[in-house]
């Protein structure tokens, strides 16, 4: 599900849905991952909080133990993870451009008046793709409009876009890295058959899409939590009802030193639950039950 810029609300809905699906079961461990991992961990009470790179790698290895390359393209970022001898050996995340991500595709699909779900099948129908400048999302868009005006078929433009995105991804992230098989492709964009085809064409290799490609990060976080909880520790999980409480987050500038960090504070009914975003740990150290550093 999409957060729509409202992560707490999305979390609440998600947890409600899960509670309805699962019925009355005992939760023995919980984990969070992704860019909202800290926020989510405070609200639900997570046992582990793991970055998405490690989570994706753990999930992929669990399904395909001999996996060597993981391509991951999500809504806002994309990454490549290289594994060697069963260990993450190298990874990269997009730094300079969002042209290779799901939100870019979303936007172009809506420009072309194609539902995003059908975007990929358009690409498969093309036999002479148009070359689209893919280095930058803004220029790709103007190039695409230009190609439309010239009278190119929509199918060919869509396939051209898929190729441009893959080219951008490989240039930005995979530069100098050995992409060996088995290759797993995960993240929301893996649903797009056009992109998968463009990857296979560019790499000249087969790309595997795991069944639950779109929740591999969550799956990985769950696996990591499970491993930790096997040592039979009590879970921090606060229960499905915890989300129903009233939460609000706000940010403020700390005036403790010249760094002027933006500290984010999470409240529930005026009670401060947690803070983060400070560089020195003065506020976030409260979060983990560590003694407060007096100043």
């Amino acid at each position: 599900m999409r957060t729509g810029g409202q992560p707490i609300e999305a979390l609440r809905k998600g947890m409600e849905y899960l509670a309805g699906q699962l019925g009355n079961i005992e939760i023995r461990g919980a984990g969070t991952t992704g860019s909202g991992r800290q926020l989510a961990s405070v609200i639900i009470g997570a046992d582990i909080v793991k970055n998405e790179i490690t989570a994706h790698a753990v999930a992929a290895q669990n399904l395909v133990p001999e996996v060597k390359t993981i391509l991951e393209i999500g809504g806002q970022d994309s990454k490549i993870i290289i594994l060697k001898n069963g260990v993450v050996y190298d990874f990269a995340m997009n730094t300079v451009c969002a042209a290779g991500t799901g939100s870019f595709l979303d936007r172009q699909a809506s420009r072309l008046n194609i539902p995003i779900e059908e975007f990929g099948s358009y690409a498969l129908r093309s036999d002479s793709p148009v070359r689209i400048a893919g280095r930058c999302a803004v220029f790709a868009e103007s190039d695409m409009i230009h190609k439309q005006q010239m009278g190119h078929r929509v199918d060919d433009i869509v396939r051209g876009l898929c190729q441009a995105l893959v080219r951008n991804y490989l240039n930005n992230l995979a530069k100098g890295k050995l992409i060996a098989e088995p290759i797993l492709f995960q993240g929301g964009v893996a649903a797009n058959v056009g992109i998968t085809a463009a990857f296979e064409e560019a790499l000249g290799k087969k790309v595997i899409i795991p069944e639950y490609y779109d929740v591999m990060g969550a799956y990985g976080a769950a696996l990591i939590a499970k491993r930790k909880m096997e040592k039979s520790i009590d879970t921090n999980f606060k229960g499905f009802d915890a989300c129903l409480r009233d939460y609000s987050a706000r940010s403020r500038e700390c005036s403790g030193c010249s760094n002027v960090c933006e500290v984010i504070e999470l409240f529930s009914n005026d009670e401060l639950l947690a803070s983060w975003g400070d560089r020195c740990g003065k506020w976030s150290s409260r979060l983990e039950g560590r003694p407060l550093v007096a100043r």
Partner: protein, 365 residues
Amino acid sequence: MKLTFPHLGNAYIAVKALLDELGVDYIIPPFNNKKALEIGIKNSPEFACLPLKINIGNIIQAYREGADTVLITGGCGPCRFGYYCEMEREILQDAGYDIGFITIDAPRGISLKEYFSQLLKITNGINIYKIAKAVKNTTEIAILVDQLEKLTFKMRSIEACRGDTDSVYRDFQQEIRLINGAQSIKKYISQTSQKLTNIRCNTGIKPLKVGIVGEIYTTIDSYTSFNLDARLGNMGVEVDRSVTVSNWVVEHMLKKVFHLPRDLKYAEAAKPYLGAMIGGHAQETIGNSIMYSQKGYDGIVQIYPLTCMPEIVAQSILPAVENDYGIPVLTLIIDEMTGEAGYLTRLEAFVDLLNKRREMAASDR
């Protein structure tokens, strides 16, 4: 005359000691922060590197507090930073700031006599003996501060209670600004170092070790690097950094001035990959990465500001080092557009990677 100087990590402590000893009036610019960066970005060319932008911000902030002359180093060789004294002078002039520049070690390379005459310019003619003593004290303080920093790297990785080291170090940075004179500064450094040593530690743990290499400003200046050293430290990693302020003062200024042989171990190590000095710290980056690997470090983090040519060259060589020595390298490129969240995610994943590799190596044995 009221002097000021741009920030570079903790270099202000040594510079402050120098100016205290010489009896010169000065203003330390407010520490690097968003404000300094914003002012710098507004007044600098878009494609200049981050250090220049922050320098400009520092100088303008100090100017507003009453400084009228900038003390800066220059020099032939490092990278375009060697020319920043001139660049900054012209940028500030164009922007309408009436501020003078004194450059120690001018771009053409200078003799011992000239070196002291540069210093004499700021000292209202005090004698050469006193200047020599001030230079000696300054160098010693630069070394002490670097040793203190190194101690924080070690303590952070083994402290029993997260945040203890940060807390001591934070107090130090707040207080040291208010302490005047080389002797008092030395005394306060040694007190702080005692406090750090007294921090309760976890005994018997062997923290991961990571070497930080890259462009000098971004490796040394914590604000610019998003507190790279403390971040890693608080994840239980002991970091080290070969390029330091004192190392720069001793190797690049004093030894050059006195024509002493320099410590070139890094260049020797880098030789199979990069046989010549190509500017900046590229050769140091390669050489130090190799030396860290030989010393049994678990990983390397390279950090540099966007558009830094020497480090771009080094980055393209590092995969070969990574391969030959089997040591993981993470490269971080920063500028004012860098998002902190993605940066942190990468650091965390890198530490996971290093931990996992260590586990695997242990189970193989």
